[in-house]
């Protein structure tokens, strides 16, 4: 039980930290003219990532 709570807490901490970083980098960080991760390519980038992950998580043939 304790291990499970700790696991959840660590995952949440990572999530919160990641959200903070993205939020601050993209909103308050003062975006440079050419950022590291270009938001205008977000749709194709996320589609490529999610699609690839779906293909990689294919079920083994029985």
């Amino acid at each position: 039980m304790m291990k499970s709570r700790l696991k959840s807490a660590l995952v949440i901490l990572c999530f919160v930290l990641g959200t903070c970083t993205v939020s601050h980098a993209m909103v308050f960080g003062g975006r440079p003219a050419r950022p590291e991760i270009d938001p205008s390519l977000a749709i194709s980038g996320i589609t490529l990532l999610v699609g690839s992950l779906a293909v990689l998580r294919v079920r083994r043939k029985k």
Binding site: K7, V22, E36, S40, T47, V55, V58
Partner: protein, 572 residues
Amino acid sequence: MTTPHGTSTGKSSFWLNLNSLLPDHLLGRFYFLLATVAIEYLFVFAGRGQNANHHGFLGIVTDAVGQIPIFAYVVFLGLGHSRLKALKVKVSFGSLLFAGHLLCMAAVFAFTSAVRQGSSWVQFDRFSYAKSLIYVLGTLLLAWAIIPLGDWFQAARATGRLWLYSLLAGVGGWLLGIPVLMLWYSTSTVQSGMLQRATLYAVSVVLRPFLPSLFVDPAAFQIGTPNYSIIIAGGCSGVEGFGLVILFTSLWLWFYRKEIRFPQAFLLIPCALGCSWLLNILRLFALILIVSDGGSQAVEAGFHTQAGWISFIAVALGFSLATQKIPWMRVRSGIEGAAGATELHCEDRRESPAIRAYLVPFLLILAAASLSRAVTGNFDWLYPLRFFAAAIALIYFLPELKKLNWRFGWLGPIAGATVFLIWIAPSRLMPFWWAHQHGVSHLGADLAALSPAARWSWITFRVAAAVITVPIAEELAFRGYLARRFISVEFDRVSFSSLTALSIFLSSAVFGLEHMKNLMDWPYWTLGTLAGLAFAAALRRCGRFGDAVIAHAFSNLLLAAWVLGLGDWTQW
């Protein structure tokens, strides 16, 4: 007639239909609320820029304070998932409240549009405060409409003090953001800008053997040669990659926690962060090397915009593969009892093997587009790469694809012609507005600068891709897979005639997103969504995959003829 909560009782068929589209259990409603708020936030606030006036809410910066309820809600849903799932209550829908929500969002969107158009009357603080207030009110109405107050209280009772812990996690997350800022802000304090300094130092170390004339200005975070130099700004130091990688890895570990072994899996997070940082250094290294060595500014622009995403996708895929393939990270197989049962359960949740044939051609087009833009700059002279990538994949998966019904009738071309007319209508009917929205295309001038052989080769591949590979790959991905995947994980067993209104709308909306030129390109999103609806309607009516493909191919053929005949290059 409606009840006080606004639930339809018979006359209002629209609300009844809307209600039937929503999940009827509490957990589904919580997730639906999260998705709706996220999408609306994107529509209303994305791309609003750095104008402080747009952030004001009672003198507080809403982006900062807004993080607290977002974190809290996500933590509440994540930790309360199983307890909320156990609540088997039938949830009603508040149509009147939802109507109020729509009114509020329309007002907020009008404010935002006016700001983007440059209207001076909305630049005053009081309008920003009003906008924020209306947005908050609209969101509260939405929450009430989707989940009645009684069900909110029931959820709170069922989850004990979780709401309090979630709120504390939200405040903690918001507070954590402040030290995170220190990683890349360049102020006078010692720890500030340390990520920038580390990145600057690392790039200079790897560049020096290749560029003897390299200069480094640590005070200005500038590095380069007399020909070309860059400033490693806070946003370029790797921090955006860090944020996305932490976000992705934590979500991945949460969703697949039953398949992954802990605490081993946590070791992968610093590994992923290290890879992300090293890839960013490689990106900056390649950028300076390419342009200093005679590469054009156009190549620099293409490489700069694509390399960050390519790096992030590579790290994310590597992380997910590591959690699936490294035996030490996985729940062990071949074990009797709970672990074995868990593995069987996880195996059932995985995608059907048929997904490869449906998605890989489209994914290869996206990957080829990303790579070709990274090395070509403004004019994508490597466009034929997309054609070959999709063609090879389609040939490879031919045995699987032969199972589909490729016959077609007259409805397909009719749908295609209709889509073509809808597609060109805005630019014909509202030419000034269209030009304001999408600017001028340089494609015609770029093609004219090529030799005739190169020009016609490029056009031949562009048309062949538009009429052959792209329609097949996109129809396989959006109608063949996505529309049916919304119905069942065994999507290849769902007949096209049984597509639902919701699955058609959602897959078409995603199809529309893929046609946007940038995040704020709503005209193309609308056109893409309408096109997706038309192709899906032809598919559902006839029940044959060939009808959707021929509709898509015919509309693209007409569009290619239009572009080449009239020189209307903005349509490409």
